[in-house]
Symmetry: C2
Subunit: 115 residues, 2 copies
Protein backbone atom coordinates (compact mmCIF):
# COMPACT_ATOMS: atom_id res chain seq x y z
CA UNK A 1 0.00 0.00 0.00
CA UNK A 2 1.28 3.45 -0.72
CA UNK A 3 -0.62 6.65 -0.21
CA UNK A 4 -2.82 7.30 2.78
CA UNK A 5 -2.54 10.95 2.10
CA UNK A 6 -5.47 13.14 1.32
CA UNK A 7 -5.44 15.58 -1.54
CA UNK A 8 -6.17 18.66 0.43
CA UNK A 9 -5.31 21.96 -0.98
CA UNK A 10 -2.40 24.22 -1.70
CA UNK A 11 -0.76 25.60 1.45
CA UNK A 12 -1.97 28.97 0.38
CA UNK A 13 -5.53 27.70 0.65
CA UNK A 14 -5.31 25.81 3.91
CA UNK A 15 -5.60 28.81 6.14
CA UNK A 16 -5.74 32.54 5.51
CA UNK A 17 -2.34 34.13 4.99
CA UNK A 18 -1.36 36.78 7.46
CA UNK A 19 -0.86 40.26 6.12
CA UNK A 20 2.89 39.97 6.66
CA UNK A 21 3.21 36.59 4.99
CA UNK A 22 1.19 37.82 2.03
CA UNK A 23 3.40 40.89 1.66
CA UNK A 24 6.55 38.79 1.74
CA UNK A 25 5.20 36.24 -0.72
CA UNK A 26 4.06 38.96 -3.08
CA UNK A 27 7.63 40.23 -3.34
CA UNK A 28 8.82 36.77 -4.36
CA UNK A 29 6.00 36.33 -6.84
CA UNK A 30 6.48 39.79 -8.33
CA UNK A 31 10.03 38.75 -9.11
CA UNK A 32 8.77 36.07 -11.48
CA UNK A 33 5.68 37.91 -12.70
CA UNK A 34 7.46 39.58 -15.57
CA UNK A 35 7.94 38.19 -19.07
CA UNK A 36 11.60 39.15 -19.31
CA UNK A 37 12.45 37.68 -15.92
CA UNK A 38 10.52 34.51 -16.69
CA UNK A 39 12.52 34.06 -19.86
CA UNK A 40 15.78 34.82 -18.07
CA UNK A 41 14.93 32.26 -15.41
CA UNK A 42 14.06 29.61 -17.97
CA UNK A 43 17.09 30.38 -20.12
CA UNK A 44 19.40 30.11 -17.15
CA UNK A 45 17.73 26.96 -15.90
CA UNK A 46 17.72 25.18 -19.21
CA UNK A 47 21.20 26.18 -20.30
CA UNK A 48 23.74 23.44 -20.75
CA UNK A 49 25.75 22.99 -17.60
CA UNK A 50 23.08 24.61 -15.48
CA UNK A 51 24.48 28.06 -15.81
CA UNK A 52 24.48 30.85 -18.33
CA UNK A 53 26.76 33.74 -19.12
CA UNK A 54 25.28 37.22 -19.00
CA UNK A 55 26.72 37.75 -22.47
CA UNK A 56 24.46 35.00 -23.86
CA UNK A 57 21.44 36.29 -21.99
CA UNK A 58 21.86 39.87 -23.11
CA UNK A 59 22.30 38.76 -26.70
CA UNK A 60 19.00 36.89 -26.64
CA UNK A 61 16.94 39.98 -25.87
CA UNK A 62 16.23 43.17 -27.69
CA UNK A 63 17.09 45.07 -24.51
CA UNK A 64 20.09 47.00 -23.29
CA UNK A 65 22.67 45.56 -20.92
CA UNK A 66 21.61 47.77 -17.99
CA UNK A 67 18.04 46.55 -18.35
CA UNK A 68 19.07 42.90 -18.30
CA UNK A 69 21.34 43.63 -15.39
CA UNK A 70 18.42 45.16 -13.55
CA UNK A 71 16.20 42.12 -14.08
CA UNK A 72 18.96 39.75 -13.02
CA UNK A 73 19.33 41.74 -9.86
CA UNK A 74 15.63 41.47 -9.09
CA UNK A 75 15.81 37.68 -9.46
CA UNK A 76 18.98 37.57 -7.40
CA UNK A 77 17.59 39.75 -4.63
CA UNK A 78 14.57 37.46 -4.49
CA UNK A 79 16.95 34.56 -3.88
CA UNK A 80 16.02 32.69 -7.05
CA UNK A 81 19.40 32.80 -8.75
CA UNK A 82 23.02 33.30 -7.83
CA UNK A 83 26.07 34.32 -9.80
CA UNK A 84 29.83 34.19 -9.94
CA UNK A 85 32.45 35.97 -11.99
CA UNK A 86 34.87 33.70 -13.81
CA UNK A 87 37.45 35.67 -15.66
CA UNK A 88 35.86 38.19 -17.92
CA UNK A 89 32.39 36.77 -17.72
CA UNK A 90 29.69 36.46 -15.09
CA UNK A 91 27.68 33.27 -14.86
CA UNK A 92 24.25 32.81 -13.33
CA UNK A 93 22.51 29.68 -12.11
CA UNK A 94 19.19 28.83 -10.56
CA UNK A 95 18.76 28.03 -6.88
CA UNK A 96 16.48 25.01 -7.23
CA UNK A 97 15.18 25.01 -3.67
CA UNK A 98 13.97 28.59 -4.04
CA UNK A 99 12.13 27.79 -7.25
CA UNK A 100 10.68 24.66 -5.67
CA UNK A 101 9.46 26.70 -2.72
CA UNK A 102 7.48 28.83 -5.14
CA UNK A 103 5.89 25.73 -6.56
CA UNK A 104 4.94 24.36 -3.17
CA UNK A 105 2.74 27.35 -2.53
CA UNK A 106 0.29 26.29 -5.15
CA UNK A 107 0.74 22.56 -5.24
CA UNK A 108 -1.46 20.27 -3.21
CA UNK A 109 0.58 18.91 -0.35
CA UNK A 110 -0.28 15.30 -0.78
CA UNK A 111 -0.32 12.93 -3.64
CA UNK A 112 -3.75 12.29 -5.01
CA UNK A 113 -5.41 9.40 -3.24
CA UNK A 114 -4.46 6.37 -5.27
CA UNK A 115 -7.00 6.05 -8.06
Amino acid sequence: MTAVTVQCCAPIAREPLTEDDAAELAVLLKAVADPVRLRLLSMIGSHAGGEACVCDLTAAFDLTAPTISHHLKVLRTAGLIDSERRGTWVYYWIIPSAVARLGELFTPLAEPASV
Copy 2:
Protein backbone atom coordinates in the same frame (compact mmCIF):
# COMPACT_ATOMS: atom_id res chain seq x y z
CA MET B 1 10.03 -0.46 -5.58
CA THR B 2 8.53 2.84 -6.28
CA ALA B 3 10.19 5.70 -8.08
CA VAL B 4 12.41 5.29 -11.09
CA THR B 5 11.86 8.93 -11.89
CA VAL B 6 14.63 11.46 -12.07
CA GLN B 7 14.44 14.77 -10.31
CA CYS B 8 14.90 17.01 -13.25
CA CYS B 9 13.82 20.53 -13.05
CA ALA B 10 10.79 22.73 -13.08
CA PRO B 11 9.08 22.87 -16.50
CA ILE B 12 10.07 26.50 -16.63
CA ALA B 13 13.71 25.42 -16.53
CA ARG B 14 13.62 22.54 -18.96
CA GLU B 15 13.75 24.62 -22.06
CA PRO B 16 13.65 28.35 -22.73
CA LEU B 17 10.18 29.82 -22.72
CA THR B 18 9.07 31.43 -25.92
CA GLU B 19 8.33 35.11 -25.81
CA ASP B 20 4.61 34.42 -26.16
CA ASP B 21 4.51 31.77 -23.46
CA ALA B 22 6.42 34.06 -21.12
CA ALA B 23 3.98 36.89 -21.74
CA GLU B 24 0.99 34.67 -21.09
CA LEU B 25 2.50 33.20 -17.94
CA ALA B 26 3.41 36.62 -16.64
CA VAL B 27 -0.24 37.63 -16.77
CA LEU B 28 -1.18 34.63 -14.65
CA LEU B 29 1.63 35.25 -12.20
CA LYS B 30 0.86 38.94 -11.93
CA ALA B 31 -2.60 37.96 -10.81
CA VAL B 32 -1.18 36.31 -7.70
CA ALA B 33 1.75 38.67 -7.20
CA ASP B 34 -0.16 41.07 -5.01
CA PRO B 35 -0.59 40.89 -1.25
CA VAL B 36 -4.32 41.63 -1.32
CA ARG B 37 -5.02 39.05 -3.98
CA LEU B 38 -2.89 36.46 -2.24
CA ARG B 39 -4.90 36.97 0.92
CA LEU B 40 -8.17 36.88 -1.00
CA LEU B 41 -7.16 33.64 -2.66
CA SER B 42 -6.16 32.06 0.63
CA MET B 43 -9.26 33.32 2.41
CA ILE B 44 -11.52 31.95 -0.29
CA GLY B 45 -9.66 28.66 -0.42
CA SER B 46 -9.61 28.10 3.29
CA HIS B 47 -13.17 29.20 3.97
CA ALA B 48 -15.59 26.64 5.34
CA GLY B 49 -17.56 25.09 2.52
CA GLY B 50 -14.93 26.00 -0.03
CA GLU B 51 -16.53 29.29 -0.88
CA ALA B 52 -16.69 32.76 0.58
CA CYS B 53 -19.13 35.63 0.35
CA VAL B 54 -17.82 38.95 -0.91
CA CYS B 55 -19.32 40.51 2.18
CA ASP B 56 -16.96 38.49 4.40
CA LEU B 57 -13.96 39.24 2.22
CA THR B 58 -14.57 42.96 2.09
CA ALA B 59 -15.02 43.12 5.86
CA ALA B 60 -11.61 41.53 6.41
CA PHE B 61 -9.72 44.31 4.66
CA ASP B 62 -9.18 47.96 5.31
CA LEU B 63 -10.11 48.65 1.69
CA THR B 64 -13.27 49.81 -0.03
CA ALA B 65 -15.72 47.48 -1.75
CA PRO B 66 -14.76 48.67 -5.26
CA THR B 67 -11.13 47.86 -4.56
CA ILE B 68 -11.93 44.34 -3.39
CA SER B 69 -14.21 43.91 -6.37
CA HIS B 70 -11.39 44.93 -8.67
CA HIS B 71 -8.98 42.39 -7.16
CA LEU B 72 -11.57 39.64 -7.36
CA LYS B 73 -12.05 40.45 -11.00
CA VAL B 74 -8.31 40.15 -11.67
CA LEU B 75 -8.28 36.70 -10.08
CA ARG B 76 -11.41 35.72 -11.95
CA THR B 77 -10.11 36.94 -15.30
CA ALA B 78 -6.96 34.92 -14.70
CA GLY B 79 -9.15 31.86 -14.30
CA LEU B 80 -8.15 31.21 -10.70
CA ILE B 81 -11.57 31.68 -9.11
CA ASP B 82 -15.19 31.62 -10.14
CA SER B 83 -18.32 33.12 -8.65
CA GLU B 84 -22.08 32.90 -8.48
CA ARG B 85 -24.77 35.18 -7.18
CA ARG B 86 -27.18 33.57 -4.75
CA GLY B 87 -29.86 36.00 -3.74
CA THR B 88 -28.36 39.14 -2.33
CA TRP B 89 -24.87 37.80 -2.01
CA VAL B 90 -22.13 36.74 -4.38
CA TYR B 91 -19.96 33.74 -3.53
CA TYR B 92 -16.49 32.96 -4.80
CA TRP B 93 -14.56 29.71 -4.90
CA ILE B 94 -11.19 28.55 -6.08
CA ILE B 95 -10.63 26.59 -9.28
CA PRO B 96 -8.18 24.01 -7.96
CA SER B 97 -6.82 22.92 -11.32
CA ALA B 98 -5.84 26.49 -12.18
CA VAL B 99 -4.02 26.92 -8.89
CA ALA B 100 -2.32 23.57 -9.35
CA ARG B 101 -1.19 24.58 -12.82
CA LEU B 102 0.60 27.52 -11.25
CA GLY B 103 2.38 25.16 -8.90
CA GLU B 104 3.46 22.84 -11.66
CA LEU B 105 5.47 25.58 -13.29
CA PHE B 106 7.95 25.64 -10.48
CA THR B 107 7.78 22.15 -9.11
CA PRO B 108 10.18 19.48 -10.23
CA LEU B 109 8.30 17.05 -12.38
CA ALA B 110 9.42 13.91 -10.73
CA GLU B 111 9.64 12.71 -7.19
CA PRO B 112 13.12 12.76 -5.80
CA ALA B 113 14.94 9.54 -6.53
CA SER B 114 14.26 7.33 -3.52
CA VAL B 115 16.87 8.15 -0.91
